[in-house]
């Protein structure tokens, strides 16, 4: 199995995130940046499939030079090699441009399986799996809480999360699989893994190396633009009451006064 897994470096989930005042893109300078937490599930699933069926796991990311830290993390978890698409011209790419650029890089790797996660915690679009399927012309097996690969039959089956249960969805390989949180328990990199990661092959591509049209990527190529951005008015705390045996009654009183019941 030739498995590609996409990862993204994002501001730490626990950090207060902001937009850059000048170009209204996500401010990545004032915060700690980490591997998108959801992507850890994607990397783990890729490693599990490799362990079960053999093969190779290639990590693909698009992001600033610093995003190599996230690649290192995926490699130290156990991925075999990585491709880092990085170029100043890519800064400010929207999901559509990002998916087109990633698809271009991924198609040169001829994967059997492309694994993404359900969403990145900064933009929260939740559409990269669907977009990669569209761009690559591959089946879209997103929102997967369970993945079963049958390399012999060249088939992959998932349990796709639905509001009241799941749908069983199957496709022929190659396919794009998008995994949700809790599909597995992502491993921590071992010391040995961290040391080994330093020697694993890493290919760095510029936009030109990847054959991308500079006008179609980055802020210049974005198909939407931010008009205004401002901090939301802070929510202030209201009435705080200590329970003295009548707490439930008090809340009911509040709800009635607000005409909520």
């Amino acid at each position: 199995m030739n498995i590609v897994v996409t990862v993204k470096q994002v501001p730490d989930t626990w950090a207060e995130k902001k937009l850059d005042a000048a170009d209204k893109t996500v401010d990545r300078k004032s915060v700690d940046n980490v591997m998108n937490e959801m992507d850890e599930y994607g990397v783990e699933e890729a490693l599990k499939i490799k362990e079960a069926h053999g093969g190779e796991v290639t990590v693909v990311t698009m992001g600033p030079v610093k995003a190599v830290e996230t690649i290192r993390k995926a490699l130290s978890m156990g991925a075999d090699k990585a491709v880092h698409l990085t170029d100043d011209s890519l800064h400010g790419s929207d999901a559509l441009a990002t998916s087109a650029a990633l698809a271009k890089v991924i198609s040169t790797l001829s994967p059997d399986l492309v694994i993404t996660s359900s969403e990145a915690s900064d933009a929260r679009g939740g559409v990269i799996g669907a977009l990669l399927a569209e761009r690559l012309g591959l089946p879209q097996l997103t929102q997967a809480r369970k993945v079963t690969v049958d390399p012999g039959a060249s088939k992959v089956t998932i349990e796709r999360l639905a509001d009241n249960g799941y749908a069983l969805v199957e496709a022929s390989l190659p396919a794009v699989v998008g995994v949700v949180e809790k599909i597995n328990q992502p491993r921590y990199p071992s010391f040995k893994g961290i040391m080994a990661a330093k020697k694993k092959p890493l290919t760095t591509l510029s936009a030109a190396d990847a054959g991308l049209d500079a006008a179609a990527v980055g802020l210049a190529g974005a198909a939407s633009s931010v008009v205004t951005a401002q901090a939301a008015p802070p929510r202030s705390s209201g009435t705080i009451v200590k329970d003295e045996g009548d707490g439930g009654t008090k809340i009911a009183g509040f709800l009635a006064a607000q005409k909520l019941i």
């Binding site: 929260r124 509001d163 249960g165 069983l168 198909a223 439930g248």
Partner: protein
């Protein structure tokens, strides 16, 4: 007046409330055309509803090829309709399925995509709360037909009864779009409660509940209020409640009239999914819990005493 395409959100033909919201919003932008994509025989259940909420036209595309596959067929049919109609915009509900379809439609049309809009002005400037609602941005599609994914509860639905013209769409889905075949649908939990993202009232439980069986307290309160049930990540991580019900930074974003947080500390992970709720009520035994910094009404106390009492009081209030 130019058309505005609205993708009908439905379950086996039964329209979801967000469809009425999208049609109401579409009327402020142009002439609403509902696009019904579903299995054969399902449109009949939506027909009256779409007329009631002011669809001027309905594109009816019923096919097993649409209902039986993930992503591709719906995107292909909707993109073809949008390509032919050259609408002012394509509006889609912010559900897991439809946002994926919207993204693929935008890619096919080479158009811009905006997701999770909470408002859309007549000149197509969308408002979004990003970073869990802590920053408000307005944005505009600058290329092609704007494809806008709109959050449930963004618009109050208003009826505008009429008689839409119906256009039956001849569905011919390419083989390429039929890659991901649905072989079975399994219902695990049929709660009868409203959808989490559409509900007017949400009651959520967290770590303070201590065990899966204690979610019964939350469910009972929710049922008294006709509410949906949510859960914090701590609760779903512990396996106390299904992942589908998780509210937060990773999980669903809700914006109901009333949100009741039971035994939830209110850390950023959770806050990011619910802080745009109109009114927030919190019950937590820890007076230092961050949720009290932004709750409209906070009760510091033992949820095992407070919640049953609250359920009973609401029951009494409703009885009259």
């Amino acid at each position: 007046m130019a058309e505005v395409l609205v993708l009908v959100e439905h379950a086996d033909g039964e329209p979801k409330k967000v469809t009425a919201e999208l049609l109401t919003l579409a009327r402020t932008l142009g002439e609403p055309s509902a696009v019904f994509l579903g299995a054969p025989g399902t449109y009949a259940k939506a027909k009256e509803y779409l007329a009631q909420y002011g669809a001027a036209k309905v594109y009816v595309a019923e096919s097993d090829d649409i209902a039986g596959y993930i992503g591709g067929p719906a995107a292909e049919v909707l993109a073809n309709l949008a390509g032919a109609a050259s609408p002012v915009a394509v509006l889609v509900a912010a559900t897991a399925d439809s946002r994926e379809v919207a993204a693929r439609v935008a890619a096919r049309l080479d158009s811009g995509l905006i997701w999770d809009a909470t408002a859309l002005s007549a000149d197509l400037v969308a408002t979004q709360g990003i970073f869990g609602g802590s920053t408000i941005v307005t944005s505009k599609v600058t290329k092609g037909v704007p494809v806008v994914v709109v959050r449930p509860n963004a618009t109050a639905p208003e009826a505008a009864p009429g008689t839409p013209t119906e256009q039956i769409v001849d569905v011919a889905v390419s083989d390429a779009a039929k890659g991901a075949k649905i072989v079975d649908r399994v219902v695990e939990a049929k709660s009868g409660r409203p959808d989490l993202t559409e509900a007017q009232v949400v009651v959520s439980g967290g770590r303070g509940l201590g065990a899966a069986e204690h979610f019964a307290l939350v469910e009972k309160l929710a049922d008294t209020l006709g509410a949906a049930v949510g859960a914090s990540r701590a609760a779903t991580d512990a396996g106390w409640y299904p992942h589908q019900n998780q509210v937060g930074q990773t999980g669903k974003t809700v914006s109901p009239q009333l949100y009741i947080a039971v035994g939830i500390s209110g850390a950023i992970q959770h806050r990011a999914g619910m802080q745009t709720s109109k009114t927030i009520v919190a019950v937590n035994k820890d007076p230092e819990a961050p949720i009290f910094e932004f709750a409209d009404y906070g009760l510091v106390g033992d949820l095992f005493n407070v919640v049953p009492q609250l359920t009973e009081e609401i029951g009494k209030h409703k009885a009259g």
